[in-house]
């Protein structure tokens, strides 16, 4: 065993610099936080060990969590996760069909919402979704006779979730999209020629039989990033509705719940417990999707 490890000493040298900063600034703080989830900790007094109580309370008594945060997160994630992933791939593919000169500008445009992050998002979408008849969407629908009264797109608890999903999809072309674009452009053109000789007729067949199989690593990366960014989304409901908590908790996600306990109620131990729960949830969705996509060899 030791001689095997010694024979790979160069590999350990390769990972050493990253591992040092990774352990110090990510792994150790996260492990400490996970430890806090078994304590009562308000940020002022030293943490007091309370065993599993935080977790017991979370899954049996925390009504805000069980009634709003958890189901909302599921609803949100089931659309935005796969939707953002698929949209990212389709857009990357469409961009790869464009000419070389246009390509980089369209890629920049599609990435723009991720680049500007929260700063501009609300200012773009609020006039569009504003609840009175002046809002662009309302005024359009009213003029077309599709609705008779203006809808409260961001303050009605039933409509808020829909608005959140649309805005999140719009800004979901992040690093996963960039990776898939690079993956598609990286596919060897000779492969397509060979495919044409072997009887591949349409562009869609080409994508399914040639492009996707030859960029599996990038597809997997895009998938993991879609899950992670979707489940880590939090502030969007607050930003859109301008209220914290969101109206009748209509847009409350798990991350809002963490925020609520961590920074408003100062129950850091409990917030840490929710974070651990969220981590388990992501891990489970990851396993599930890796199985679905059949990349078990990973």
């Amino acid at each position: 065993m030791w001689s095997r490890i010694w024979s790979y000493r160069v590999s350990y040298l390769f990972i050493a610099p990253f591992m040092l900063v990774f352990l110090a600034f990510i792994v150790i703080p996260v492990v400490m936080t996970a430890g806090l989830s078994f304590t009562y900790y308000n940020g002022i007094e030293p943490p007091r060990f309370i065993g599993w109580s935080n977790f017991q309370y979370l899954i049996s008594q925390d009504l805000l969590f069980l009634q709003y945060a958890l189901p909302n997160t599921f609803k949100f994630a089931i659309v935005v996760g796969p939707g953002g992933y698929a949209a990212g791939f389709v857009l990357a593919w469409l961009i790869s069909l464009l000419g070389k000169r246009l390509r980089k500008w369209v890629a920049l445009a599609v990435y723009a919402p991720s680049l500007t992050a929260g700063t501009a998002m609300t200012i773009i979408w609020l006039p569009l979704l504003s609840g009175d008849r002046i809002g662009y969407l309302n005024s359009f629908l009213l003029n077309q006779g599709l609705i008779s009264v203006p809808k409260l797109w961001v303050t009605d608890p039933h409509l808020l979730m829909g608005s959140m999903i649309v805005v999140s999809l719009w800004s979901s072309m992040g690093v996963g999209f960039l990776a898939m674009l690079a993956g598609i452009l990286n596919v060897d053109p000779q492969l397509y020629e060979a495919g044409r000789i072997d009887g591949i007729r349409s562009r869609l067949q080409e994508v399914w039989y040639l492009t996707i199989p030859s960029m599996k690593p990038q597809m997997l990366f895009g998938c993991v990033m879609a899950i992670v960014t979707t489940l880590k989304t939090g502030q969007i409901g607050v930003e859109l509705s301008g209220q914290n908590p969101t109206p009748q908790y209509g847009g409350n996600l798990i991350v809002n719940h963490i925020h609520d306990f961590g920074f408003i109620r100062y129950e850091m131990g409990y917030a840490a417990a929710i974070s651990v729960f969220l981590l388990l949830l992501m891990y489970a969705s990851n396993r599930l999707s890796w199985r679905l996509f059949g990349t078990r060899d990973e």
Partner: protein, 282 residues
């Protein structure tokens, strides 16, 4: 037939451009917002484009910053040093780690990789206090390493590079090994050039993460002369939610913080798209 094809081609390009224009809205908005005079900044419902562009906001920002005790150049210097070092170092160490994970079957590889992916998933909200403790124990408060080291570890970057480097054919590496290349030579001369698109993407991420990062300045730097430029701008314009004064300066500040991100992305993304056409190694 030929005509029909080019017609559908044109409509496809036009559709993509329209879509791109829609996605570009936030950038257009930020640029146009910076040039709005005060009476347009506060119109409700907000106007998207500026009607009477003016540079008064830029003048205002300059006046505000000239009142600061520490010269603006000091903040700029801090920012440039910190971002440059972070981008270079974190791209190199991510690439090295990704390369070893992809191409060296060393014992513990699976464990290391799973840990990296797992850490990607932890919500960062509650990690701030433990991270503060680590930084202060290591004596990094008020030092440049205190800005840089916490941002160096980029699990996303390692994950991305590992995925790309997996695609490098082993035969290519084997051939170079027989020709007497060292492991580091393989990494530098083959792995990095072949995976340039991914390396550039990681550099983009690292830049975005460090340039507009406010956390290290806010928590780890107590001396004012150690803070970064975007942090300084944010102190000028925070607490402005219901305030009229300085909103013009705030709009300009947002633009100034965004611009380097944009330029860096355009420069490197060109690299991504251009290198791809030439590499062709599969």
């Amino acid at each position: 037939m030929r005509l029909r094809f080019s017609l559908s081609r044109i409509s496809f390009v036009v559709l993509m451009l329209l879509f791109a224009a829609f996605m570009l809205l936030p950038i257009v908005f930020i640029i146009s917002h910076a040039f709005k005079p005060y009476d347009e900044l506060f119109v409700y419902p907000p106007e998207f484009l500026v009607k009477h562009p003016t540079t008064q906001n830029f003048v205002e920002l300059m006046q505000v910053t000239s009142n600061s005790l520490i010269p603006l150049s000091r903040y700029l210097f801090n920012s440039i040093v910190v971002s440059a070092l972070t981008v270079v170092l974190s791209t190199i160490i991510s690439a090295m780690c990704g390369y070893a994970l992809a191409k060296h079957p060393f014992p513990g590889r699976q464990l290391v990789f799973s840990t990296i992916v797992l850490m990607l998933m932890f919500a960062p909200e509650v990690v701030q206090i433990p991270r503060y403790l680590v930084v202060s124990r290591l004596g990094l408060m008020n030092t440049y390493p205190g800005h840089i080291l916490p941002l160096l570890a980029l699990p996303v970057g390692v994950f991305l590079l590992k995925q790309f480097m997996e695609q490098i054919p082993n035969s290519l590496l084997e051939a170079a090994r027989i020709d007497g290349a060292t492991e580091f030579g393989l990494f530098l001369k083959i792995a990095v050039p072949v995976c340039m698109p991914a390396v550039a993407t990681v550099a983009i991420l690292a830049f975005q993460g460090s340039w507009s990062n406010l956390e290290t300045s806010a928590y780890f730097m107590q001396d004012d002369d150690m803070k970064t430029f975007p942090f300084f701008l944010s102190t000028l314009t925070s607490n402005l939610a219901n305030n009229v004064a300085r909103q013009g300066a705030a709009a300009v500040a947002t633009l100034i913080v965004l611009l380097p991100n944009l330029v860096f992305f355009i420069l490197l993304q060109r690299k991504v798209i251009d290198t791809m056409a030439h590499s062709g190694i599969k």
